[in-house]
Subunit: 466 residues, 2 copies
């Protein structure tokens, strides 16, 4: 019996071979697709379904690509020929919310924003807030180590997960971590799973560390500067002052102009860059006023609002960045991260890369944590070579400044060829040896994160833009 | 040339074979020692020294036990016959402090409190605050995943480390992690190292996530209850209310009486248990007042202080717990952790265990995070069988309540025989396979964390109390 027949015998109608489903499983939101349809999409509805699927995949040596909502930006969940796409989207239940223990137990397929709405009814929230939160799953957020706007103040995903249930490549179920705040029993495999992009196992349940909703209303500060460098320097001043904004976003001139155009707003002054800041908690108003004063001192034209609705309107400009780029063509959204003090230097590097490669690279940054999203806009479907050359230049600049290839999107297939540059060869090999412990046959997400590279640095994977 | 001669040829006077040094390396603060002197103590003064030591250990298949200040409570750093004790204590420099990036780069041998004093001069602090902070090293804190009093509000060690430099068993140096707040490049080996107790590699450098010192003075609340159960329930009420104390400590009747006796204070009422709470930040005074009201409502006799000096005096009672126990005999300090809502139930279990085994078990708890330290006091040098039987009962109760064997002290040698009970056999074996990737020959801390256990659960290690 072939693999699909075996899956169908075991899982019935949860095995989907409709052309639309197969086609849909080929792509994420990176703009890249696999080279053809996968064998089948399995819509898992239970832990047992996942175990069954992996047992069949294991005995037939069939690769499995696990998917949440398919909103990834690194090509990590694109299933192709000969592969099973394992969709976790239907496993979307909230199993338990404990306000007394500040934890929630969920299935991986729930959308981040749906969880947020449910938690809010009990006065709780889960801090990870990727821009995709309305459309991305909690399981996907964990598997990619997704970030968001609030990380400087409220931490990254690694800080917000207590325990994970994981199905291994051979179908065995492991319970990793604890329900308690503290726990140091053995190796921290919960942390190892976070950001592992589907190569170690399938996350089938998560115990999340939640917080009480911060009392009081957020306050907002928007400041326009004459250039991105002065805006970046001003954000560094805020960080160094010790005031801790919840959100501090930076938009460069090209980004700001594109959003203004999309929203039909008055065109900003040439070169103008913007900082958008929110403070929260009991000292929100006082902190907003102090930040406003600092930004005025740094040469910004400043607007302060203590009104939350007005604040959301101010943030809407930042939140419209993705639509503004999408309106212009295909977009490769990059994701380098640098120490906060290097933010202005990284913008200098981006300006240099724009000049050298003859490109415009609209860039937004989570200035509070040093994470930049340079956007490469092009006419699809394939990423032009010049864009990959500029991206290569960008990654090397970020690493030189003490930063990293990816702050929150992950390596996927798109950045696999740069991974060893950052990790070093010894660590790169060690990481692959760890993957082999979890998945000796290499059936989980093959070619993702660790594409094979020869000694000269050439990959034997197909080009990521293929 | 034998191992010691090779070490001496390479490292000269940094190889210490004095009887005092060898004897000192046999024990930590758990009350347990190895069965005899190690071969030598290497006082590493540089990364190169560590690499050299491990190269010699690797080629001669000699086990290496890495030590910080020897303040561990689980027997993880006790070097014995045929082993090299590798002391990191002399590598105690602060290499870099960046207030603008909120990070500090340090060598592992620096004492936690020494780092704290240096950071304070720049308005910064590193949150992990184990009770041992005046005498324990940052490297040891990281290697054990040490906790402390502030974890509920300010996180655990895993949340406070950005990057680690690690020397592998064969002497190779790896750089793990990032200087940036965000970073998801490949597997998170930084997190995997935290709490790994010396079995994966030797931490030779750490990039720490530091915070600005919280503005304002802390406020304190002390509440005495008629029993430990009502004190535990009151602490759960505080957590559930959404107010977030920085510190919330619980002392049971036996602990409170022992400390009062040590300090020459008036004897507390029979059965009386105490909560000691500190609030900090801009809303400290308001939060202290709200907590005081809740605790009065829960039946507590409450004292509130907005004066920091008076607050330190109130905390001194809690901080005198270790001396109070030490004054009574040898102490085995246990370290179970449960979800916060199970705190009262765990105290019920401790009362049951006291009855069943005919023991008194003075217990303090970090009530804000659910971590309990039951103290078994006995006449030395060996832990009596009845204490191990009671401890076994304690661990099983904690796991039944959704908790863990160890919140912040680690497994070491003392708890290795219970590890598989918590992890399950599959995860226990998987973790050992991961260790083998880092250290194929098994020369790093053999017998620590993963003692070999046969199918019937019997260990072939010597008894932990031997």
């Amino acid at each position: 019996m072939d693999v699909v027949a075996q899956l169908q015998a075991a899982l019935g109608a949860r095995v989907d071979v409709s052309p639309a489903a197969l086609r849909g499983a080929r792509a994420d939101r990176s703009g890249h697709s696999s080279s053809g349809d996968p064998l089948a999409v399995v819509h898992a509805e239970s832990v047992a379904d996942v175990q069954q699927t992996l047992r069949i995949a294991h005995t037939t040596s069939t690769p499995v690509v696990t998917r949440g909502a398919g909103t990834g930006l690194a090509g990590a969940a694109n299933a192709g020929p000969g592969q099973i796409a394992l969709s976790m989207r239907r496993m979307d239940r909230i199993l338990e919310v404990r306000p007394d223990d500040l934890l929630a137990v969920v299935e991986p397929g729930i959308l981040n924003a749906d969880l947020g709405r449910d938690l809010a009814e009990q006065g709780l929230w889960w801090p990870p807030d990727p821009a995709s939160r309305e459309i991305s799953t909690v399981g996907g957020n964990i598997a990619t180590g997704a970030g968001g706007l609030l990380c400087a103040k409220y931490g990254v995903v690694r800080d917000a997960v207590l325990a994970l249930d994981v199905v291994l490549a051979d179908g065995r179920l492991l319970h990793l971590g604890h329900r308690s705040v503290k726990g140091v029993t053995g190796l921290d495999l919960t942390a190892l799973m976070i950001g592992s992009e589907g190569v170690l196992g399938v996350i089938v349940g998560a115990t999340l560390k939640v917080r009480r909703i911060t009392p009081g209303s957020p306050c907002s500060v928007v400041a326009v500067f004459d250039g991105v460098r002065s805006a970046a320097a001003a954000s560094a001043t805020v960080t160094a002052s010790g005031v801790q904004p919840a959100i501090m976003e930076l938009m460069d001139a090209a980004s700001l102009a594109a959003v203004h155009s999309l929203l039909g707003l008055t065109e900003p002054a040439p070169g103008a860059a913007q900082l958008t800041i929110q403070t929260d908690g009991p000292a929100a108003a006082d902190e907003a006023d102090r930040i406003a004063e600092m930004l005025r001192g740094a040469g910004g034209a400043v607007t302060v609002s203590h009104d939350p609705d007005e604040g959301e309107k101010l943030l809407a400009i930042r939140r419209s960045m993705h639509p503004a780029m999408a309106a212009r063509g295909m977009t490769l959204i990059e994701d380098v991260s640098v120490p906060r003090s290097a933010l202005a230097a990284m913008f200098d590097e981006i300006a240099r890369i724009e000049r050298v490669h003859g490109l415009t690279i609209p860039t937004v940054a989570h200035a509070g944590d040093g994470n930049l999203h340079p956007n490469f806009v092009f006419d699809g479907p394939d990423v032009p070579d010049v864009v990959w050359r500029a991206a290569d230049d960008l990654f090397r600049a970020a690493i030189r400044l003490g930063g990293t290839l990816t702050g929150e999107h992950g390596i996927g297939t798109l950045k696999a060829r740069w991974l060893a540059d950052e990790l070093g060869d010894d660590q790169w090999r060690l990481q692959q040896d760890i993957v082999r412990v979890f998945d000796p046959a290499g059936i989980l997400n093959p070619g993702v994160v660790f594409a094979h590279t020869d000694a000269a640095g050439h990959t034997d994977q197909k080009d990521p833009d293929a």
